[in-house]
């Protein structure tokens, strides 16, 4: 969508069409190009650099539907200066967009297989495009499992959609919370615990995980215990990024530039780095 062949550092201006609070500390913006008609296509797992006037620019994964690209959708958590400023914006305000950047989830390779999706917290946002893609091509995939963990029931993202995934689209969805509050009668505990009893065939499954690094580390272990080989496990990593194009050096993770070699990596390619402290 951005002018990546011209000057990839120059953002395009987009107008906020909708802004919606999801949970106490997360919200979703829907963006439209402010001037020209623009190609909004992206692959599930890619991210954009979003710029807030005078404040700064940050990488945020695209959480919309890759199969129906009538607007650009980003769900994010309010954690820093830029996201705080972004939440204060209103419908009609402008933001700058560069992208889409990065290596996507292997949705094509997953066809004909069971798919295991594991998300922790805001990690569901970059995985939602995979779910959308699967829904649009449901016949192409076998068993699809979604394992999702949050801190409390109040932190569950997209609760209405999640119900539809299960009911309408034959996606086995298991949600767990760290701390049960209110009238929660579902699973309690870390999301990694759900892997052991999730219904999939380890010999013919692809797993995709996104969440805090520690959660992914344990998720990988559980998946390995089930018998999924490292070549069939994908993880989405996070690093500081300033450019998105492999020039600023900030996102290095061993030999990898997370912005262009990632954020999605096949686990066996980075397994040697996963247990190195502060790499």
């Amino acid at each position: 969508m951005s002018n990546l062949n011209g000057n990839p550092m120059l953002p395009q201006s987009f107008r906020i069409e909708r802004i919606k609070n999801e949970t106490d500390d997360t919200f979703t913006v829907e963006l439209q190009p402010s001037k020209n008609v623009m190609d909004l296509s992206f692959h599930a797992g890619q991210f954009n650099m979003l710029y807030i006037y005078g404040v700064g620019e940050i990488p945020i994964s695209i959480s919309g539907d890759p199969c129906s690209q009538d607007s650009l959708v980003h769900t994010t958590r309010v954690v820093g200066t830029v996201t705080k400023a972004m939440r204060k914006l209103r419908v009609g305000d402008l933001v700058g967009v560069r992208g889409p950047f990065g290596n996507p989830w292997p949705v094509e390779e997953a066809k004909g297989k069971d798919v295991v999706l594991i998300a922790g917290g805001i990690g569901l946002a970059p995985i939602r495009p995979v779910v959308n893609y699967i829904i649009a091509n449901r016949h192409a995939f076998k068993n699809v499992v979604m394992l999702y963990g949050t801190r409390t029931p109040k932190d569950i993202l997209y609760p209405r959609e999640i119900k539809l995934w299960e009911k309408k689209h034959r996606i086995h969805t298991f949600v767990t919370v760290d701390r049960a509050i209110g009238n929660w009668d579902g699973n309690v505990g870390v999301v990694t615990k759900l892997v052991a009893r999730a219904p999939f065939d380890p010999q013919n499954a692809l797993a995709m995980a996104c969440g805090p690094e520690v959660m992914m580390r344990f998720t990988v272990r559980e998946l390995q215990k089930r018998g999924i080989v490292d070549e069939n496990i994908y993880v989405s990593t996070e690093r500081n990024m300033k450019c998105g194009i492999g020039h600023c050096g900030h996102c290095q993770f061993g030999s990898e530039f997370v912005c262009k070699d990632g954020p999605v990596f096949r686990y066996d390619k980075i397994a040697h780095l996963f247990d190195v402290w502060e790499v």
Binding site: R15, Y53, C248, W277
Partner: protein, 377 residues
């Protein structure tokens, strides 16, 4: 009869100003070594009187001094704290401006044109460093348009080293002391009896255009060529430092957990000097600024260093809060991961990081310690 190479010429040292004038006539601003604040640094030069003639330098780990010499040589010193990256990969670059207009704002690309620049006195290690940055900014998936613009307008005059510095190890890194390619012109300064001249090698078509702006230079003889070869051999043998690069990637990948990093961190001040003086270090950050009324915003790109805490900050904290792992990250990138990223080493062996380290941390020594610790395991 001796057949002479048309691309090898002799420029008498006394004619050097004529050569500079030819560059100016061809439209180039000339940048070269100058003496400022008791260090040899790169700046604009207009004639030979701007060059540090009669000065040389002495270097060791954490030590740099210039001293007076009686020598008439124009280039009798090794690399100082500056590198050419400050003219290609600018320390501060305005990426774009944004201006508010009727409820919104629009982006304005900064597309200032740049003038032609000639780098005079580019050492072989520095030619190699420029080629390494070319790979990052011009030959990867995305192009850095600001770098491209400057690079295309740059004329490189290599000057081969006629002495080796105490912190130099270009022979180990295969980048010097002799520049074989990557230049428009390469000069070797020779004193042979009463003759003081530059052995000139023409490396590009652009160089021919510049040479045509001055009286034709006589062709070099076989004797001159031999003098250059001998000189290069002597410089190679005199190299101050060396490292063994066989299996160097493995060395680092096998030593992520070494306690050497902690030991180095006890000395390292995380000052980032090594990354600022390194001619290949390319990391940058960005800074957003607005005017007082908020009607104009700018985005600046600035050199950054992996030695700062902010460098790897993501929500919740820095990925590399410990100094030991920040040093490990920097040196592992130079000597190991750079190979995976760009099919070559990230180090050119110029020794700047050793000279300008305030506590004298010497990468060649640290690599030897790693190699030794591995051997005893």
């Amino acid at each position: 009869m001796e057949t002479k190479n048309q691309k090898q010429r002799i420029l008498p040292a006394g004619e050097f100003n004529v050569f500079l004038k030819a560059l100016h006539e061809a439209g180039y601003e000339t940048i070269g070594p100058t003496l400022q604040d008791r260090a040899i640094v790169y700046d604009k030069i207009s004639s030979t009187s701007d060059l540090p003639v009669g000065w040389s330098d002495e270097q060791s780990a954490g030590f740099y001094r210039v001293y007076r010499t009686e020598s008439p040589l124009l280039f009798d010193y090794n690399v100082g704290p500056h590198s050419w990256k400050k003219y290609l990969h600018l320390p501060n670059l305005l990426l774009w401006k944004a201006k508010t207009n009727g409820g919104g704002f629009s982006f304005i690309e900064d597309d200032k044109s740049v003038g032609k620049q000639a780098f005079l006195g580019v050492r072989a290690c520095e030619v190699a460093a420029i080629r390494k940055q070319d790979k990052i900014f011009l030959e990867s998936e995305f192009i850095d348009s600001a770098y491209k613009k400057r690079r295309e307008n740059t004329f490189i005059i290599a000057v081969n080293c006629t002495k080796a510095g105490a912190n130099c190890f270009c022979t180990s890194m295969n980048t010097g002391p002799y520049a074989h390619s990557g230049f428009d012109l390469a000069l070797t300064e020779i004193i042979d009896g009463n003759r003081h001249f530059f052995f000139v090698e023409i490396g590009s078509a652009t160089a021919e255009i510049v040479m045509n702006k001055m009286p034709e230079l006589e062709l070099a003889s076989r004797h001159d060529s031999t003098l250059v070869q001998n000189n290069m051999r002597e410089v190679s043998y005199a190299m101050g430092k060396s490292i063994e690069t066989t299996d160097i990637q493995r060395l680092f990948y096998d030593n992520y957990d070494s306690n050497i990093w902690e030991e180095i961190a006890n000395r390292c001040m995380n000052c980032a000097n090594c990354t600022m003086v390194c001619p290949t270090c390319f990391c940058t950050t960005v800074e957003d600024v607005t005017n007082l009324t908020g009607t104009e915003a700018e985005r600046w790109r600035r050199w950054d260093s992996c030695f700062t805490m902010d460098f790897s900050y993501i929500h919740g904290g820095s990925v590399r809060p410990s100094g030991s792992n920040r040093f490990r990250h920097w040196i592992t990138h130079k000597f190991a991961t750079w190979h995976d990223q760009f099919d070559e080493s990230g180090c050119v062996g110029c020794g700047r990081c050793i000279t300008w380290c305030p506590v004298g941390i010497d990468v060649t020594k640290e690599i030897k310690s790693l190699q030794k610790s591995k051997a005893t395991v």
